[in-house]
């Protein structure tokens, strides 16, 4: 008997387009999509573009409590019905398409707070019917937050809040590395809610900067942030988080995001041609991530973003 007789374990490595179709089909059953990372860091933007190209509609979008570019882009393409994210901003400026769509009543942006979202993901990850919250007072958000309710605390006797499980149908994550089985490694200092989302979700699809050999994982298991048990598919996508950062591999592309936001602001005042062209060039037309990289500026352009992470 030799090693050849050992049956073969199934690889979770998936092509970007296949992963996008997998997500689209699942979201047709239940439209709750959750995005990893935070603001301009570690966002699974290539997966988002893939999903938009595959034709997702009427999405309910969740995220760690802060998001910007990707959610705005999804709204710009008309794929979003409801937003369950406490803070939606480009940080240095507002999200133009988010604003337009909400002000026009085309998209519902729920008033939420971080603890509701995190608590709901915690309840789902822990498998309990709710998570108590005892730190919300005085904000008008409490009058509108659709996910929490007041309960009588059986221990303190006080009125506190509780949130039921938030269980995304699909979560997109971006990590720096994975093995072929789907064990993820975030090399970035910050991992935000990515691990929590992975544990809270029905389906997890991750983009990574590179697939590493099995031994890299086995030699340092403590470094694995999301065990493959939680991951359904992993996609190797060069610059898959662009224009957000994948620290320490490449920095956020603030110029790109600012140029996008300018097009969104123009659309607000009636000139949508630039925004439509942006969507065509970056979302609809590219057949691959290679096409996208070319559309953005090519290898030389991305080399600058790589160099930027080493400057601190």
């Amino acid at each position: 008997m030799n090693d050849q007789t050992k049956p073969t374990r199934r690889s979770k490595v998936t092509r970007l387009q296949d992963a996008a179709h997998l997500a689209r089909d699942a979201l047709q059953e239940r439209p709750e999509l959750c995005l990893g990372g935070l603001f301009k860091q570690g966002r699974p933007v290539a997966l988002v573009r893939g999903l938009l190209a595959a034709g997702a509609k009427d999405l309910h979008v969740y995220s760690s409590p802060g998001a910007g570019y990707d959610v705005d882009l999804m709204i710009a393409t008309g794929a979003v019905e409801q937003v369950f994210i406490p803070g939606v901003t480009l940080e240095n400026r507002l999200c133009p398409n988010f604003r337009s769509a909400v002000e026009a009543g085309q998209v519902t942006a729920h008033a939420l707070d971080a603890l509701t979202v995190v608590g709901g993901l915690m309840a789902s990850a822990h498998g309990v019917p709710f998570q108590p919250i005892d730190a919300l007072r005085g904000s008008d958000v409490l009058k509108h937050n659709p996910l929490i309710r007041e309960i009588d605390c059986p221990f303190s006797g006080r009125r506190i809040h509780a949130v039921g499980p938030i269980r995304p149908r699909v979560t997109f994550l971006h990590a720096q590395e994975a093995d072929r089985w789907g064990n993820l490694r975030h090399l970035s200092t910050m991992v935000y809610a990515d691990q929590l989302m992975a544990r809270a979700s029905d389906m997890v699809i991750a983009s990574v900067d590179r697939i590493v050999p099995d031994e890299v994982i086995l030699d340092d298991p403590s470094r694995v942030t999301v065990p493959s048990h939680y991951v359904d598919a992993v996609v190797e996508v060069p610059y898959g988080a662009h224009p957000t950062a994948s620290f320490p591999h490449y920095a956020m592309d603030e110029d790109h995001i600012d140029a996008y936001a300018d097009l969104g602001d123009a659309a607000r005042t009636g000139d949508r041609a630039g925004l439509d062209d942006y969507i065509a060039r970056h979302v609809t037309r590219p057949k691959s991530q290679g096409d996208y990289i070319e559309a953005v500026g090519g290898a030389e352009y991305f080399a600058r973003l790589e160099a930027e992470t080493r400057k601190r």
């Binding site: 507002l94 002000e103 707070d113 919300l136």
Partner: protein, 255 residues
């Protein structure tokens, strides 16, 4: 050290002086001024002040970043946490936190959700805010917008995203807000505090180059000015040197 003190530098110094050694605190997303203030306090009089509660501890950035959620700025720090730990910190509270918004009102309430209209049909939809807890689980917080006009200082905010003192002591008690709440409002023009009896905002001091009349003219409600208002103590030479040479090496606060 004769180069003119910039308004943001003045803000940083005012805030830094109020942070004590041994405290735990953090700032949210837009945190250029607060993070500079914390760093300055740590350099000058608070070496045991811990930056924590926002998923990283004691970052040592090479220079100031406009966003403290930038991993370039945080790559070098003592430890990283996640939103689960932030959930815990939000309940246990910090010693201090910082906030700013689209609108600030006479009781220090902050609006980040909408200006005009309603939440469902907003005139202008703002970004919202992630964490609403630190403003009242923490011992105190500071309000530090980098602009100060009648547009963002209004009598009553259209939506209370971050509660300050609500409509005063009675409302605060009724809502269960038990901590100090907003202590100072520090802007490029002046420092405001709150009347202990009414919890209404009032002018405390004006920065060099400003007058109390100018500050009042740029504020959409009565700042309760009675007689002379002192000038904000200018940065000392030591404060300015440390700030410029060790913290803001690239001059972001003077840009």
């Amino acid at each position: 050290m004769s180069a003119a003190v910039s308004p943001l530098e003045q803000m940083v110094v005012v805030l830094a002086r109020d942070l004590a050694d041994g405290e735990l605190g953090a700032a949210g997303a837009a945190a250029l001024v607060p993070m500079a203030a914390i760093a300055l306090a740590r350099e000058l009089h608070a070496p045991n002040l811990t930056v924590g509660g926002e998923m990283f501890f004691n970052p040592l950035p090479g220079h100031l970043y406009p966003s403290m959620l930038d991993d370039r700025a945080l790559g070098r720090c003592e430890a990283a946490e996640t939103f689960i730990e932030l959930f815990g910190h939000s309940h246990h509270g910090l010693d201090f936190f910082f906030h700013s918004g689209l609108q600030h009102d006479s009781y220090g309430n902050i609006n980040l959700h909408h200006v005009g209209g309603t939440l469902d049909a907003p005139g202008m939809r703002g970004p919202g805010a992630a964490n609403l807890s630190y403003c009242h689980t923490s011992t105190r917080f500071y309000v530090c917008p980098t602009v100060h006009t009648t547009r963002n200082f209004v009598e009553k905010v259209d939506f209370i995203t971050i509660p300050g003192h609500l409509s005063g002591p009675e409302a605060k008690r009724a809502a269960g807000l038990k901590k100090e709440g907003p202590r100072f409002v520090v802007t490029p023009r002046a420092v405001m505090d709150f009347d202990p009896a009414t919890l209404r905002m009032r002018l405390k001091s004006v920065h060099a180059g400003n007058t109390s009349e100018e500050v009042q003219r740029h504020t959409g409600f009565d700042l309760g000015i009675r007689g002379d208002v002192p000038q904000t103590p200018a940065p000392t030479e030591e404060e300015l040197t440390v700030l410029r040479e060790r913290i803001d090496k690239t001059g972001t606060l003077r840009a």
